[in-house]
């Protein structure tokens, strides 16, 4: 049996093939379990992607500004050669901050802010006016997690921060075994207001309880990371003495 290439299957999945080739591919797929499995997997992944309307809406609302976090040469103030991707270079993005976000985040953040006001005694070390919320995507369901919210392997987590003024920010996750991961590639600057941080983290298997640590201002530094790393090296202590000043912490528990 002569299989279509993976690219042809991907085009087929995207409804990108000319009619004749699409019919041939459809016929092949109906008789080929391997190709069908591949397409099923693509479909499954598609269902786990962020909703298209929210994704497109966020890009349009941001005016098509490329995310600075991606650190691309075309992000700010640099020439993008015309031949790159066949795109014109006379309309480079401005330096305005790009806002990533799903429609659901706004509602989630409101709920989380209310929880913050109602339950001030949670074990976090807040900066005045600053806060953050962890959002969990499980399948197609998205939810803002409360303190000690639950996670399990495969969940995708995103951070939404609220800051009263433009500030550098850094974020890490630390698991119970003391493994520290950067949430951001490196500290980044965010403007005032509600900001969804770029990227997401997927909870690995086996799931481990996590502490999400967010630092703003001068604390958003490698020095804070070094302190965290040192504190986490022998497993995190039960009290909050290890929490570096100027950081906020949220604990997430495995189901």
């Amino acid at each position: 049996m002569s299989h279509p290439s993976q690219f042809v299957l991907e085009r087929h999945a995207c409804d990108d093939l000319p009619a004749g080739e699409a019919a041939t591919t459809r016929q092949h797929v109906s008789a080929c379990p391997g190709c069908r499995r591949f397409l099923d997997r693509l479909l499954e992944e598609t269902q786990q992607r962020p909703p298209a309307a929210g994704f497109a809406g966020a890009i349009v609302r941001a005016g098509g500004v490329v995310p600075a976090s991606a650190e691309l040469p075309c992000a700010e103030g640099e020439q993008m050669p015309r031949e790159r991707a066949g795109l014109p270079h006379d309309a480079r993005p401005t330096g305005r901050r790009w806002h990533r976000g799903w429609t659901a985040l706004a509602a989630g953040l409101t709920l989380a802010a209310a929880a913050w006001l109602l339950f001030p005694g949670r074990p976090t070390n807040r900066l005045k006016g600053a806060g953050f919320v962890v959002h969990r995507q499980r399948g197609q369901a998205q939810e803002a997690l409360p303190t000690e919210g639950t996670i399990r392997a495969g969940d995708a987590l995103r951070l939404v921060v609220v800051v009263p003024e433009a500030t550098p920010i850094a974020a890490w996750s630390v698991d119970r075994a003391g493994r520290l991961d950067r949430w951001l590639f490196e500290p980044m600057s965010v403007p005032a207001g509600e900001q969804a941080l770029p990227g997401s983290a997927v909870v690995q298997s086996p799931c481990q309880d996590l502490l999400v640590v967010v630092a703003t201002g001068a604390s958003a530094s490698m020095a804070t990371e070094a302190r965290l790393r040192a504190a986490a090296a022998g497993g995190l202590p039960g009290d909050s003495s290890w929490i570096p000043p100027g950081t906020m912490v949220q604990r997430l528990r495995c189901e």
């Binding site: 290439s5 941001a62 991707a85 590639f185 983290a201």
Partner: protein, 166 residues
């Protein structure tokens, strides 16, 4: 391009573009970021997309460029070992053995952009030199030279496998 058209493009092509980025970058978070860059570019410069014979191929070329830019900026710091990523993109009816494709991916960061693209199209997508030349708008001889250079990089790593496959 309207917001509705952008949403439709993302609905149709978002998963494949993400998989492509993840394959190249070996980093899920970076891949998500680059996907957003790609669709931002689509929204801003969508004219070529609408006229493209294969819209997925158009998006893949943009995604590859964005990934290469990201790699240039990030160096190798942010990439994960291949063992940690989903290999499904490397295992379906491919022309080249999986170890060849893995090696090609490992070598990407040593290559210039053109070389990266040739490596992807040849070793990962299984295109012939003629097909790559057509896709990239250059001569077959240029593609041959790029593949030869790739083989030399592989040889520096002590592997002759790409030279043989090229």
């Amino acid at each position: 391009m309207t917001e509705e058209a952008l949403a439709e493009a993302y609905r149709r092509f978002g998963t494949c573009v993400y998989r492509r980025c993840r394959l190249i970058l070996r980093n899920e978070i970076a891949a998500e970021d680059v996907v957003q860059v790609v669709f931002t570019k689509l929204w801003r410069y969508g004219h070529g997309f609408e006229q493209a014979e294969s819209k997925l191929a158009w998006l893949y070329r943009v995604a590859e460029r964005c990934c290469f830019d990201w790699m240039d900026r990030a160096g190798s710091r942010a990439t994960e070992p291949l063992e940690q990523i989903d290999r499904s993109a490397l295992t379906l009816h491919a022309k080249h053995p999986v170890e060849v494709r893995e090696l090609a991916l490992r070598l990407l960061e040593r290559l210039e952009d053109r070389g990266k693209q040739v490596a992807l199209l040849h070793f990962i997508d299984g295109l012939t030199q003629e097909e790559i030349a057509q896709a990239l708008g250059c001569s077959r001889q240029t593609i041959g030279k790029e593949l030869k250079r790739l083989g030399e990089h592989a040889a520096q790593l002590g592997s002759e496998i790409l030279r043989e496959e090229a």
